[in-house]
């Protein structure tokens, strides 16, 4: 279990969470919502809300081998799997430069 709030987002069909303490501001941008964090700006389709606590699991070897991105771990929120990200190393799908290729 990881204490501390998490901001929970949707992007590219996935659900993502980042530690609330990293979030500086949320606003609207050209390609969706812009989330300013201590690690840079992320983009999101939707902000779902905050999760007070998440039980974060290590991502495991299969995910590490088959998904070329880094993350803090995985969790489940209301029956939906969530990828907990490190805002300093966000997945491409959440980066501003990834927004142009976002379908």
């Amino acid at each position: 279990m990881t204490d501390g709030k998490f901001l929970v987002l949707r992007r590219s069909g996935g659900t993502w969470a980042l530690p609330d303490g990293c979030v500086r501001a949320v606003g609207r941008g050209d390609s969706g919502l812009r989330v300013a964090t201590t690690g840079g700006v992320l983009v999101a389709d939707e902000v779902i809300g905050f999760a007070q606590r998440l039980e974060v699991r290590a991502p495991g070897g299969v995910l590490a081998a088959m998904w070329g991105e880094s993350c803090i771990g995985l969790a489940v929120l209301a029956g939906v799997p969530v990828v907990v990200i490190d805002p300093t190393q966000p997945p491409f799908a959440l980066r501003e430069e990834g927004a142009s290729s976002h379908a």
């Binding site: 590219s12 081998a65 799908a93």
Partner: protein, 143 residues
């Protein structure tokens, strides 16, 4: 169930695309209706995404794609086989999306011909049909 001479292992036979596969039964935790999978952008094609199983996040792999087996063309897979992969003592659970769970059978434990893939021990004939026997211990290491 067919009987094979020599050291054998019990396996769950599953249909993965046009390929029939044998999963060592001691690695199989459960077979469930296809879990709802949430996509993971940027993942390898064989990694369908993440699902929730028993309150835990679960990577779900397309078994046919993982093995390079031709798809049936029927589209969606019907079952998810929950298996423990990786070396013993350091296993993790993953879901294998497949068309169907078929039967329980015995396959030889020894090396078999046809091991053309890192996680394929080899191929056997069961009831006249070729079946690829999988090594799920190799999956976590070589996926």
């Amino acid at each position: 169930m067919e009987k094979i001479a020599g050291a054998v292992q019990r396996c769950l036979l599953v249909q993965a695309g046009e390929q029939e596969c044998a999963l060592p039964l001691d690695r199989v935790r459960r077979v469930v209706r296809a879990l709802q999978v949430h996509p993971l952008p940027g993942a390898a094609p064989a990694l369908l995404g993440l699902a929730e199983y028993g309150g835990e996040p679960l990577p779900v792999l397309d078994l046919a794609r993982l093995l390079g087996a031709p798809p049936t063309g029927a589209g969606a897979t019907a079952v998810t086989v929950i298996v423990a992969v990786g070396p013993r003592g350091a296993t993790e659970l993953v879901g294998l999306a497949a068309e169907a769970a078929l039967d329980i059978a015995e396959t030889p434990l020894s090396a078999l011909p046809g091991n053309d893939h890192a996680m394929v021990v080899g191929e056997v004939l069961l009831a006249g049909r070729p079946v690829r026997v999988l090594d799920l211990g190799a999956l976590g290491a070589t996926a």
